[in-house]
Symmetry: C2
Subunit: 340 residues, 2 copies
Amino acid sequence: MKKESNITIHDIAKALNVSGSTVSRALNDNSRISDRTKKAVRNMAKKLGYQPNALASNLRTSCTNTIGVIIPRISRYFFSSAITGIEELARKKGYNVIICQSNDQEAREADCVQTLFASRVDGVISSIAINTKNYDHYKTFTNRNIPLVFFDRVCEELETSQVVVDDFKGGFLAAEHLISKGCKRIAHISGPQHLNIYINRLQGYLKALRKHDINIEEDLIIESPLTREDGMACAKKLLESANPPDAIFAANDTSALSIIIYAKENGIRIPEDLAIVGFSNEPFSEYLNPSLTTIEQSGFDVGTKATELLLDIITNKTGNHQETIVLPVKLIERESSNKK
Amino acid sequence: MKKESNITIHDIAKALNVSGSTVSRALNDNSRISDRTKKAVRNMAKKLGYQPNALASNLRTSCTNTIGVIIPRISRYFFSSAITGIEELARKKGYNVIICQSNDQEAREADCVQTLFASRVDGVISSIAINTKNYDHYKTFTNRNIPLVFFDRVCEELETSQVVVDDFKGGFLAAEHLISKGCKRIAHISGPQHLNIYINRLQGYLKALRKHDINIEEDLIIESPLTREDGMACAKKLLESANPPDAIFAANDTSALSIIIYAKENGIRIPEDLAIVGFSNEPFSEYLNPSLTTIEQSGFDVGTKATELLLDIITNKTGNHQETIVLPVKLIERESSNKK
DNA sequence: CTGTTAGCGCCTTCAA
DNA sequence: TTGAAGGCGCTAACAG
């Protein structure tokens, strides 16, 4: 479906008896145009209802004022709030945002890369899929100097800037919180160990145990794909073992919630029996009973920071394109949280 | 930041000793090109690593293969799943998606319209902000024949196609469910009455009461802006009234959850005292204790349908541009749901 | 079946 | 401070 013909800079030029280039320059606030002319051009533009044609401009300047975003899934609160942060800043700076979801699958992530590349985005912000092990598809960008910034789930082997959350600290705080409640045998449902976030959460947890001279029991550390199904399996294993732990630190929401659901379904009263700390960003945390104590991270802030970094690179304001920004986490203890 | 020069169709043309148009046609699978030539062109394109420049194509054809989406907020599960549906289908059909959030504010919605218009989107899918009363900004699209489809929260005064959920049925099912549990005095926390969805939910509720000869008490019907704060106020009013209702039908998640939180904070045991039916799409509904019985609607389906409709209009496959599609709702009764 | 030609609307040298 | 001219890469007549 074609649009009807629109006002172009030449219409303005004709109306004002100047050349197209003058109009173009005036509209772009070029310093070599007199204020009088600029004003006249702008007025006429408004009068005629001129709408700049970004397409033509893009073709000419070969930059699209668009940034691409690749995320696992938009329906996870952490990511949708990251998007909100990205969008807000990007739009303020005159950029559009194209969002692609990898559904946490490597192959789809590669598709996203292709899509964004074909859209000629000026830069890309990405958080990698849970099962991505090979990062070659990202070379589509790096090989052509298209700026790339990772956030949250980052890729260390590509030399890019990144914005992460202090997962190590998060793991540490979570474990120490449970220790402070008197727990001695703290289980940890961890995630895939090729992902920075789960490695760091685990390491933080380990450090807290060591600091407090608590015996590290390998059996209490489970590496889980963090699906809901596996969460239930973990819950079963932990809650129904002969020697159950007295606390659980779950590496993400899904696993934490699985524990709660499993307990509820099987009549295990969590508040009395267990302490749980989830690693959560979902807004529903606070609705839960028993409430989780959670480690909160702001998707919005992460998104904003990543965008800031990316736009800096795009506009070449900074020389360092391998910056790593670490954002803080916060431990939120719910009122009705478990007290052992 | 400029991209380095790329392979164009002319490079392919030169390598093959044919004209640019032949290459263009071959790449676009034009029927007037021999299979032999097509194959040769495609091979050469691959060999040279050709990437079509959508910008140039867009400029020439004045269509961007991009659709715009306006939603209140991406972080609400219903909308993020709608986005997923939209994106999936759009991408399959070769369209990009630009998402704008109105934050439920009329002024920002108008900004979104401008942004999308400036991006020269081929069509728009929108769900209106909660406080939008004036729809003039949408005329930016309708005046220029840019296809527009509303979903969920629709605008009746603009003559466009729309995809909605069967809110009337939802309200009816919710109320009837509570009646079937033996409840007689069913309160309803409703939403702004200029929005189709809340009007219809209320009407459905009323119909159920009438059908079962239940007295309609005006005092039990509250029109709320559905913020969390107001939800708490409604909860207080209902739960602590001298003559509290024996059931509540909340028109959305926020209000339903507010009831639960308020009850929890104030030591009111909901399972024994109240039956609640929420109108919910959030994935966390099922984690709640006491669980809500909810009316489920699929954001994904709504998004998909809206996209289907929009793409049909864009590609002119259908003459009727004022279609209304109503998608079904489902009542989900949780196992641990309230039994009065 | 293929080539030639002429732009889409804008920006950017270069010249005045 | 302004104008003229050319071209970004592709497509769509119009010719063959």
